[in-house]
Symmetry: C2
Subunit: 197 residues, 2 copies
């Protein structure tokens, strides 16, 4: 005899598709839903479908948007473009309240080992935006890993001949970290990129 | 400006209602849903509503059921009743494939501090089942905490005058635990309940 009745087994199966959710956690989530009111469960269910129906990509920057053009592209001046790998990187930067320009989401980084070349990510869209003029600076905010660095270098090499200033997020030891605990790569980078006081 | 667009913010909010899910995890779950196909998201959404629409309590044992009477009550002989606190305890015992009798789900345990008395949990239903006859043994499988023990004692005192054998799950040191690491309460209990070889 199967252990779970069908509707519960099905819901546990759906929850276990979420990242980092195993059988035990999926079971806990399912019991939580069973104990929700019908209205709460309906709201949960609708939020899932709603996100699929109403979230698309901004046709300018490639970020998540409810409309053809996202709120950031609609409102902000576009003389500085911050280039990121994924939409969630936009969220991370927006939370800082430090950057007031616009974004460009590549939806990936160049990774020859995975068969992802420059044409497989949204570099063409970036070049089109820049060719329309008015851009002073492009900030490369891809991740500080091999693929992110390679992508930043590749795009930088494309843009420099066009007279665009290309910058990269600073690397170094994280604030609040003791020197002895900093990882070696970050510490080495902090030496190389040291600033004159 | 709000950081998330409305549909994503709403879904993150729904996910963060799940037990043990904070803002970061809820965000990861939401991105996973955004990256699902429409069919997958629909299946997920429907599984949530389906569980609310099709899961009820078995009118005999109080376990989760798709019908008025659950599959266990329908199929199994009912001379041994295993009494548990919650439906998820039934799952835990069913997974063992050791017990072949029927269950009774109390939906709580007696807890005077929380204002939960014997009339607030499903003891009446248990007495009704037993009054119909044919029950040889009642296994008290409530949790080994203060409330679980009190509930087991309370029900045991009700049933013994009726000539029903009442048993309790054995407590002691878990299999595979070294003596020096066993918690003191379990070790003390293992001494008290020691078996003659």
């Amino acid at each position: 005899m199967k252990v779970y009745i069908e509707p519960i087994g099905r819901l546990i199966n759906e929850f276990s598709k979420l990242p980092g959710v195993g059988a035990k956690t999926a079971q806990r989530f399912a019991y939580k839903v069973i104990n929700m009111s019908k209205e709460e469960a309906l709201a949960f269910s609708e939020a899932i479908i709603n996100v699929k129906n109403n979230v698309r990509y901004c046709k300018i920057c490639g970020n998540f948007s409810e409309n053809d053009v996202c709120d950031i592209c609609k409102i902000r001046s576009a003389d500085t473009i911050c280039v990121v790998k994924e939409p969630k990187d936009v969220i991370a930067i927006e939370k800082l309240n430090e950057f007031n320009g616009v974004y460009h989401v590549l939806h990936g980084t160049i990774s020859p080992l995975d068969g992802i070349g420059p044409n497989d990510i949204n570099i063409k869209g970036l070049l089109e935006r820049i060719s329309k003029g008015g851009i002073n600076e492009v900030i490369m905010a891809t991740n500080p890993d091999v693929e992110g660095e390679a992508t930043a270098m590749y795009i930088s090499n494309l843009l420099k001949p066009l007279g665009i200033k290309v910058s990269r997020l600073a690397h170094g030891i994280p604030i609040g970290t003791d020197l002895e605990y900093a990882d070696e790569v970050s510490l080495a980078r902090a030496f190389i990129d040291r600033k004159t006081l």
